[in-house]
């Protein structure tokens, strides 16, 4: 049987563009820049083996986002603030050794998302369709918040959502669930779309940002699998060691998991 899709992120649904800033970087680009820069920086710093390329790319975007000024745009005489915005797409997949109904149910309860999506601080369901999302920007740079709505929902099969207009980070996503062959559990396919800044600098930025964002989505899915299969997230970072003891980070999210095993 062919599954009829009302909405498909891959074909029809784009994030709703918003943004009106009049510095040389549009506000959407600016927010994404700050947001992604902070994420990249955070991501690079928290790795055991520091990823310097990510760090510097992250730092650059953070600067760009916070200042509203891009030396690169200036240099090439471009102003992206009033151009049409393209969107970028990431798709990642993982197999979870659990029945499809369980996997779907855990994801559909949106307030579970921050337990495995590392950059999310909270997701609060407002009604059956709408939810309020808060992402913490690390290093004390505050939070970014937006509302999202579920556009389509097929139980145990598919969820499509989109940030509502005027979201600070315009994004849309689709996640679908299917049985893995040979009784190996459930395949989760996630497709995330987000607004990328337009223009020359935007392209450069996107090519920098995309792989890291892809990796982030992948890591989120991996944590989702960890959590569903074992009820906990593997952690070694918070552990004791010699010499480096002083620069150990606090266990952060892991403690929450400890207090609330899933299964």
């Amino acid at each position: 049987m062919v599954f009829q899709r009302k909405y498909s992120v891959e074909e029809t649904i784009n994030p709703q563009p918003s943004g009106s800033g009049q510095v040389n970087i549009g506000s959407t680009e600016r927010m994404i820049s700050a947001f992604s820069g902070a994420l990249l920086t955070f991501y690079a710093i928290r790795r055991p083996v520091k990823h310097w390329a990510l760090l510097s790319a992250g730092g650059y975007m953070l600067y760009r986002g916070l200042s509203g000024y891009c030396p690169m745009n200036q240099a090439v005489g471009r102003n992206t603030s009033d151009k049409e915005i393209e969107s970028l797409q990431i798709s990642r997949t993982v197999t979870v050794n659990r029945p499809r109904s369980k996997v779907y149910a855990f994801w559909r309860q949106l307030d579970n998302l921050p337990r495995f999506m590392q950059h999310l601080a909270s997701v609060t369901p407002l009604d059956t369709k709408r939810s309020h999302w808060v992402a913490a920007v690390p290093k004390g740079l505050g939070t970014i918040e937006w509302d999202a709505e579920i556009l389509e929902e097929v139980e145990n099969e598919r969820l499509v959502w989109r940030s509502v207009a005027e979201a600070t980070v315009d994004n849309a996503g689709e996640v679908y669930f299917k049985d893995a062959p040979g009784g190996q559990g459930t395949e989760i396919h996630a497709i995330i779309r987000y607004q990328a800044p337009a223009g020359y600098a935007g392209q450069a930025l996107a090519s920098l940002f995309n792989p890291a964002f892809g990796q982030m989505v992948k890591e989120d899915l991996r944590r989702f699998k960890n959590l569903l299969e074992t009820g906990e997230l593997p952690v070694s970072e918070a552990q004791y060691s010699g010499q480096r003891v002083s620069d150990k980070t606090e266990p952060s999210k892991k403690q929450e998991i400890y207090e609330s095993p899933v299964l």
Binding site: K225, G231, S241
Partner: protein, 390 residues
């Protein structure tokens, strides 16, 4: 607590570090009573592993006493004397449920590093670099054991600590080498390497019915041990004889049915270029290592099996694929699935069929850590295995 920490190449120091605590619900804290050196540690200590950081606590083969358990740990209690699997496995993922514990999906928080190196990540291993999870190792007074119910096995009464400790890593590794080769009664097995793992592979091959086991090494006293205690029927010193000729001679011109590589060639890294260079550099530095695999392939009987448990981590040069293909060889390999084998091995030990305690040649405190590894590395003073009593 005191712990033996990596401080740089061949520079291990005892440092005071905070005691480990329960982090996840399936954790347990173990007070370590014996912790063994292992050949694979050498490549971390010798600086071939870029994801080893100063401060890391080494060690993955150990026994101890349960001192604390997380809320989801029901089957262990304080005071239990346990042997702990060196690989960390969740017991819930597809691979764990197929008993392939070293392929566990859920225990390596740094899976992305291993993914870059190998295309996917296996289970984490205690004290074995950040690519393999970044978990603190066992050369310490205490250790945190994730998924403790899956990895800790209560040691039956009557088994001494010295015998139990090798059921953590060396014995299951040697046993798996023989087990995955599917040895049939009457077969001839050749084992390269007579260190801890090789010794255990020799004994395991005998246990599984091999009629003859040929032990190969360059150290006379290890060969003698393999013969006197391990039960090897023949011994070959590669420094004295041509292995290919000698193996043909011993097998009526056929070659061994099963060739076990218990030596390996270890080089870690990130990125193809790194591996390639390191591997090559390593070959120059430590001659003979990759030779084992080539030699095993060349010596193996037509239609035979090459079983690899010596660790390979990067790229190996000039593997004779022509020989492997045209002789229709079967390759079996992998990090060992400790949790699959430990209960069975403890029975062998309890029943007196194998007693691995003879591997211990040196017993030292953590303070002698670097010296112990130096002895072990250079095989001086007949060092087979040194164990730490933290």
């Amino acid at each position: 607590m005191r712990a033996l920490c990596y401080n740089g190449i061949r520079d291990l120091r005892v440092e005071n570090v905070p005691d480990p605590g329960i982090i996840n619900p399936h954790d347990a804290i173990i007070r370590v009573t014996l912790s063994s050196v292992c050949g694979s540690d050498l490549h971390l200590i010798n600086g071939y592993v870029p994801t080893v950081q100063s401060g890391d606590i080494l060690g993955h083969e150990f026994i101890g006493e349960v001192v604390e358990t997380g809320p989801q740990v029901k089957k262990l209690k304080k005071g239990d004397r346990v042997v702990v699997a060196s690989v960390i496995a969740c017991g819930e993922c597809q691979h764990c449920q197929e008993q392939s514990f070293s392929l566990c999906d859920n225990t390596n928080p740094n899976a992305y590093i291993a993914e870059k190196m190998f295309g996917d990540s296996g289970a984490a291993i205690f004290g074995y670099s950040h690519a393999f999870g970044g978990y603190a190792g066992s050369h310490a007074e205490y250790i945190r054991v994730p998924f403790a119910e899956k990895g800790c096995f209560v040691i039956p009464e009557g088994i001494a600590d010295d015998s139990a400790v090798f059921c953590s890593d060396a014995f299951p590794t040697g046993f798996m080498a023989a087990d995955m080769a599917d040895i049939k009664p009457g077969q001839v097995v050749a084992v390269w390497g007579c260190g801890g793992v090789g010794q255990m592979a020799i004994q395991s091959a005998r246990l599984l019915g091999a009629e003859r086991v040929i032990a190969i090494d360059g150290h006379e006293e290890r060969l003698r041990t393999a013969q006197m205690i391990g039960g090897a029927t023949d011994i070959l010193n590669y420094k004295k004889v041509n292995i290919q000729d000698a193996l043909k001679e011993l097998t009526g011109g056929r070659g061994p049915d099963v060739c076990i590589d218990a030596v390996g060639m270890e080089a870690f890294g990130e990125g193809i270029g790194y591996y390639y260079d390191r591997a090559k550099q390593y070959v120059r530095l430590e001659n003979d290592r990759p030779v084992v695999l080539r030699e095993a392939i060349m010596a193996c009987r037509k239609g035979g099996t090459v079983s690899i448990v010596g660790v390979y981590s990067g790229f190996a040069d000039k593997i004779p694929m022509g020989a492997a293909m045209n002789k229709a060889l079967t390759f079996k390999m992998g990090q060992m699935h400790a949790q699959r084998y430990i209960p069975r091995l403890l029975e062998y030990v309890r029943d007196g069929k194998v007693d691995p305690s003879y591997l211990i040649t040196h017993r030292v405190g953590l303070e002698q850590g670097q010296q112990a590894y130096d002895l072990f590395y250079e095989s001086r003073d007949h060092c087979m295995r040194a164990v730490f009593v933290p």
